[in-house]
Amino acid sequence: MDSLLVVIFGFIAVIGALTTAFNREPYIKLISMSMMIGGIFPFIVDRGFLDVAAATAVIAPISTIFILLICRKGEP
């Protein structure tokens, strides 16, 4: 991958991780986590592991849905 792209996607992943880590609202944390995962995916695809990438893309939202089960419903 081009070094510019590495920097950009790495930046997205790190900034997503930092927001996930230091925010106090569960919903904002989940949104930032989705952003972090978006930054990680290009690295998997760049290696050429397309089957792994597709399956992981399906698994990641399932994990989030599990976490949503304990977020208080209907409460900001």
Partner: protein, 86 residues
């Protein structure tokens, strides 16, 4: 890599970075979601442009649908889910 692909990829990546910054700067969770949507558009575009191969279509769609499903679930749960009528 072809020049056209590289330029398109750079455009996607820069827009992704911009969207990421906007997601972080926005305060309200529901208003973050459209920016996150832009991010996932840009990322799924760049996933394909990094490796233009028929199988990449599946990856791009899987990533996009997964990300959409996630936003959908987050927004609906935040809004309180199905309103019981009657």
């Amino acid at each position: 890599m072809e020049v056209a692909l590289l330029i398109a990829l750079s455009v996607c990546a820069i827009i992704a970075a911009y969207a990421a910054v906007r997601v972080v700067l926005e305060k309200r969770p529901l208003r973050k979601l459209p920016y996150l949507n832009v991010l996932s558009f840009a990322i799924s575009g760049s996933l394909l442009l990094i490796l233009p191969h028929p199988l990449s279509i599946v990856v791009a769609v899987a990533y996009f649908v997964g990300s959409t499903l996630e936003s959908n679930a987050i927004a609906s749960t935040y809004a309180g889910g199905i309103q019981k009528d009657g």
